[in-house]
Every structure is written in C-alpha cells, then in structure tokens.
Amino acid sequence: MNTTISTSGALAGGIDDVRHDGYWAAETPIGATLLVAGPLLRAAGRPVPDGTVAVAVAEAGSLVVRYRDVDRESVVGPAGAAGTDTALVVSGSIARVPWASTAGTVLVLTDTPGGPVVFEATSDVTIIDAESDLAGNPLATLVFDGVSVADPVPVRRGTAEDVRLQMAAVHALLISGAAERCAEMTVTHTATRRQFGRTLDHFQAVKQNLALLLEEVALVRAGSSLAGRHLVAADESPLGAAARSAVTAAVVQASASAGEIARLSHQLHGAIGFTELSELHRFTTRLWAWREAIDSADWTTQLGSTAIAAGAEGLWTMITATTEETL
C-alpha cells in the first residue's frame, strides 16, 4: 500500500500558481479559479470557463431561492421537489466576494429547496463594487433582485462546507507566498541598511528577529504545502476527515502566523517599511487582508472540537493521519 501523498496533474501546478500569486501580490482570483471553481465544476460535469472565476458562497439565509415554474400537476421534479423545471428565482445578496467585480465569471453556490446548486451570475445580477479589503483590493456585493436562473447545476450535499474550506486554503497559500516575499525583502533590507557603522544584520538582536521571521514563514509554507497535497489528491471528490484536518490546520496556522510575520517584517524595516517608499506594505497589507478572509476563529474552534471529540485515544491518530491517509 502506498502511504505517500502524491501530487500530480494540473492541480499540483495550481497550488504553486496560487502561492506565486501571493508572492507577486497579483491582483486576480486565480486561487478561486484553480482550486475552487475548477474542482467544483469538474465534479458537476461542467466545463471550466476560460479566464478568472470568482466564487460566491451564499451563507444560510442570505438568499431566498424558489422554483420559477412550479408545475402543480407533477409529482417529484428533477431536483427532488414538486416541479418539472429546475429554473430558479433568486433574491437577496452575498456580501464581500473577493474579485467578483473584475473576474471573467462569477460562480454562485447556494442552497435550494432541492439541494445545493451552482450557477453563473449573469448580467441580471448587480455587482456593487463598494468595499475593499485591508490591502485595498475589491470586495464586491452581489445583489439578486428576483434573478432568473435557467440552468442551475446540482452539486452534492456538503459542497458549501468544502468550498468554504477550499477558499480558506487559497488564502493560506496566498499568505504563504506573500510571507516568503516579506522574508526576502526583510533579509535584503537588513543586509543593506547601515546603522552604527555596520549593516543591521550584524546585530544579534536583529538576527534573533530575522530567524523568528524565517521560521514562521517556513511553518506556514509547510502547513499549506501539506494542505495543497490533500486538495490535489481530492480534486473533485469530497475532502475526507484526514484531509479536512490537514487543510484546516494549514488555514489556522496561516492565520495565526500572518500577524507575526507582518509585525517582524515591519519592525526590521524600521520607518521606511511603514511608508509607501517601500514595497513591503503591498505584502503586509495582504497578509492582514487574507487573514480576515480566512475567518479563522471559526476554523480554530472547529479543529479544536474535532480534536476534543477524537478524545485521548484518537488525538494522536488524528494528527498522524494527516500525512498517512492513502491518497
């Protein structure tokens, strides 16, 4: 039996692409496109559109969804509810969707009376580009005013939960990329900036902080790489228990480290990093923004309660399974 997690195929490259996106502070929803929309559409047997895709997940109660053409004569329709047509009418709004205002396609995931579905937002959906995140990148609100959706694609139950976790994993990978760039910029800065007649990196206190920075970056990288391997292995299948633990751990760790990485990078850059004279802020503001996008308290308590539920007998097994599950 092969107990190694293997990375293969297009998705593996997707993991690196997303991390690079963070590393270059690129301004596209490439992570949602590659790691969320791709697997979601493949699982639903639909083609993945060209270009970038933003993914909007409706929280419970944020949308009102009903069937458009209820046919009272029929018994049970294709979506498992009364009706011969699956077309929907959608009202309500989904707030703070990253890049929805600029992406080529916006994919919406919502519950319906017949189960969860995805559909593409058409021009009937109003996209309000009103807000931005801590890095100044767009967070759009999608407004549905009785929008007709002709061809929603049914997806398996629990998809929303997986998609939320995948989106968080995308942000963990983005944090990993930006964190690496912060470390590089900081190492270079301390090697060139002189005070007291020497470069900063000659000083013991500076070395200590640099090491802590590098370590935290390595930790985030290792966790998100492990998570990435699980996402690749699962691709269009649901995430199993061990994969969920590994991915959740990566998300929690990225969120926990982001602030520390930003703090140390700024401290070691001195005043210049606190201004637009240095590029550093492009990365540290993203660390803060992506930490918010992860919504971490939720994942932390989830991981904790899973661990507690595993009990004294199961805790260690839960941890080892993250590298051992046959994938």
């Binding site: 990196d201 200590q208 904790g304 805790l315």
Partner: protein, 394 residues
C-alpha cells in the same frame, strides 16, 4: 551576497521537503501501537511528558529492542534493523506521543550508535553496535562543562597521551544518565591550536572506569537525571578514541540534523495535551477551550510536516542542518507554549503532590521541566544564529 542570492537562500530555507512516508509505514505504526497498548496494560507506559529525559526503564528498552525497534538506523550486519531514518521516525514518534519510558536507550539509539557507525573503527562497531541495538548498552553525552555551554569549543577537559592511550582530566556537566549508563562519549582537548575548533577529540569513556566519579545534579522537580562527571586521571585506551584524533569538532557538528529535527523536539509535552483532551472529551467545552486546542493542533500538524520533511531529506542522504535548527527552535518553543496554553484552559490546576499520572500532576511535572526544552541540545538563541548565518553578513 547579491539580493538575488539572498532571495534564493531564503527560498531554500523556508521550503522544506515534502514529508514522504515509505511503503509499510502504516503497518509499522499499527504494530508499534499494539506493542504500546500491551505495555500500557502492564503499567509500563504511563503517558508521562518528557519521557525521553525522565522515563528510564531498562526492561522496556530491551523489549523494544527485541521487536527490532532500537538501532533502526544501524545496518543489519551490526545488529540493527537497517530500516533507516523514516521508519525509525515512525517508531519514535509513536513512543513519544504515548509518553513511553525511552530515556535509557535514547542517546545510544539517536546519537552514539550513528556516531560510532560513521566514525568508529571496525572493532568499535562490533563491540558497541549490536549491544546498542539489543537495548543493553547505554551511552551518555559528555560535551558540556561549567564554562562551556553554548561555546562548546572552549572545553577544558584535557586528554594527554600516555604509552598505551590517553589520560583524561576535567569535569563534564549536565551529563544525562551518567549515573545509570555504561559509557559516555567525551569531547576533550587533545592539543592546543590557534583555531579552537582544532585539537578536540572524542573518546568513548567507560563510566565505571577508575577515576570516574559521578555526582548528582538535581532538576527543579528534585529528580536525579543528570550529573557532574569528574574525570581524574581516567585512562582511555587508544582503541577507544572515536574517529580521528583532533577531528572532534567536525564529528560533533556533522550530525546535528539527527539531533535537532526529530520528533523529540516538539512532542515532549504532547501527553499533557492528550490528558487535557481526555478531560474535555466528556464535558461540554467553551469556545475558548476549543480554540486553544485547535491552535495547538494546527501548529503541531504543520511542525510535524516540517520535521518529517527533514527526516525524508536525511533518508535521501542530504544533511539539512539549518532546516533542522528551524524545527528545533520552533518545536521546543511549542513544547513550552503547549504547557502554558493548556494551563490556561485546564479545569484543574497544576499540583505536584496530586495523584501520579493525573492531569494536575502531569501539568505540574511538565511545567517544572519547561526551562529545559529550549536549552538542551543547544539553546534557541544559538540556533537562530545558525539559521541567519545562511542569509546574513558573517
């Protein structure tokens, strides 16, 4: 170093190899779990923290060895199992997670055996390795001295030539297990040089030889785990010089990746988290308790991936010393952090005199061991120097 070279160096440091478990790892793990369950039922595995410092049980070591789980990094020709670093990793992480009493054979298995295998003579290999692999021959490390801790190259213990070998004089400090072990690998100055890293030699010293006096030094808990080892005119025959005379420094620093990246650098206190989870599993928990456990588990999973990545690189023949230092700094801080965090959300306060093995006692025990995690095997401040050396001005 140019900016590009620095970027590249940072990349190499923060990108750890992916953990690769070999075929059969799952099977091996479950065999070890069965063995531990049996031992637990017999009362020999008690889930204690810091069991690789404190859990001394010769019988346990011998039974473990009988299964082929000591000396796994040693080739079969010398009594080892030849299974290699990753298989060994699986076994030792199971033992540490369970809080099994592994301290008797720990140093022989992790360091002395590997060191003798790579530097020792054929005669030394035949004399020591099979006994180590059988869990019957135990080693101490005699490096530190009162004035030589972080600055190890300043050791004062002297080795002078005699007709048939060497005469050692000096005092080694903090020598774990010297009162119960058989031998110590002692680092001593055998000749003077302008470069302090030259002229150091490693010796295999019989701890029961005339002139060796072991004096206990007690821990904060009152436990007797380490010692001052006084060497007065101790005669060491030529065939007990380990490796090349004068080459001690290179030998000592050459195997740091093995000493620094293993699971003992982040699992020492896991039994305390296990104990907390045991308590919390049967009651309704607060969000705070859940999130503390969640944060610890997240860090543990990520750390373990790093450590296993280093082990995978070792298996492949690389020597990722600096990445091992990263694991050790992060990991040993995690060990202490775990205690602090568990303490805050524990329904029971630490208590030294509570029932042995109960949560209150384990917590007190682990807490009183806390200062050691970030000192032993090289302090965290020194490790950070090792790490930044790769990317900063020298």
């Amino acid at each position: 170093m140019t900016a590009d070279a620095r970027d590249c160096a940072v990349g190499q440091l923060v990108r750890f190899p992916d953990p690769q478990l070999p075929d059969g790892a799952e099977e091996l793990r479950s065999e070890v779990r069965d063995f531990i369950a049996e031992e637990r039922a017999n009362g020999t595995v008690m889930g204690r923290p810091d069991s690789w410092l404190s859990g001394w049980d010769r019988g346990f070591s011998e039974r473990l060895a009988a299964r082929g789980w000591v000396g796994m990094a040693l080739p079969t020709e010398f009594g080892g199992s030849g299974a290699g670093p990753i298989a060994r990793y699986v076994v030792i992480e199971e033992l540490l997670a369970a809080g099994a009493p592994v301290s008797a054979h720990w140093v022989s298995d992790r360091q002395a055996g590997v060191s003798i295998l790579s530097h020792g003579t054929e005669e030394q290999k035949r004399a020591f390795l099979p006994a180590i692999a059988a869990g019957r021959c135990f080693f101490s490390i005699g490096m530190s001295e009162r004035e030589s801790g972080s600055d190890l190259a300043s050791v004062q213990t002297r080795a002078e030539r005699t007709d048939s070998g060497w005469r050692l004089n000096g005092t080694k400090m903090w020598t774990g297990g010297a009162h119960v072990n058989d031998f110590a690998i002692v680092l001593a100055r055998s000749s003077d040089h302008d470069d302090r890293h030259e002229g150091l030699t490693q010796f295999i010293v019989d701890l029961r030889a005339p002139g060796v006096r072991v004096e206990p030094i007690r821990l904060l808990t009152g436990e007797h785990r380490f010692n001052a080892v006084h060497l007065t005119d101790v005669l060491v025959p030529d065939n007990r010089v380990l490796g090349i005379e004068g080459d001690g420094w290179r030998q000592v620093t050459g195997e740091l990746a093995f000493e620094r990246s293993g699971p003992e650098r982040f699992l020492s206190t896991l039994p305390v988290l296990t104990s907390l989870v045991r308590l919390l599993a049967s009651v309704s928990t607060s969000q705070h308790q859940q999130s503390v456990v969640g944060r610890l588990v997240a860090r543990l999973i990520s750390l373990r991936a790093m450590s296993l990545g280093v082990a995978s690189a070792l298996q492949a023949g690389a020597s990722p010393d600096v990445q091992a230092a990263i694991v050790k700094d992060l990991g040993t801080r995690f060990e202490g952090d775990l205690i602090e965090q568990v303490r805050v959300v524990s329904p029971i306060a630490p208590n030294r005199s509570a029932t042995i093995g109960g949560h209150a006692e384990l917590l007190a025990f682990a807490l009183l061991h806390t200062p050691g995690y970030t000192l032993r095997g090289g302090t965290n401040e020194i490790l950070r120097g090792v790490i930044t050396k790769e990317v900063t001005a020298r």
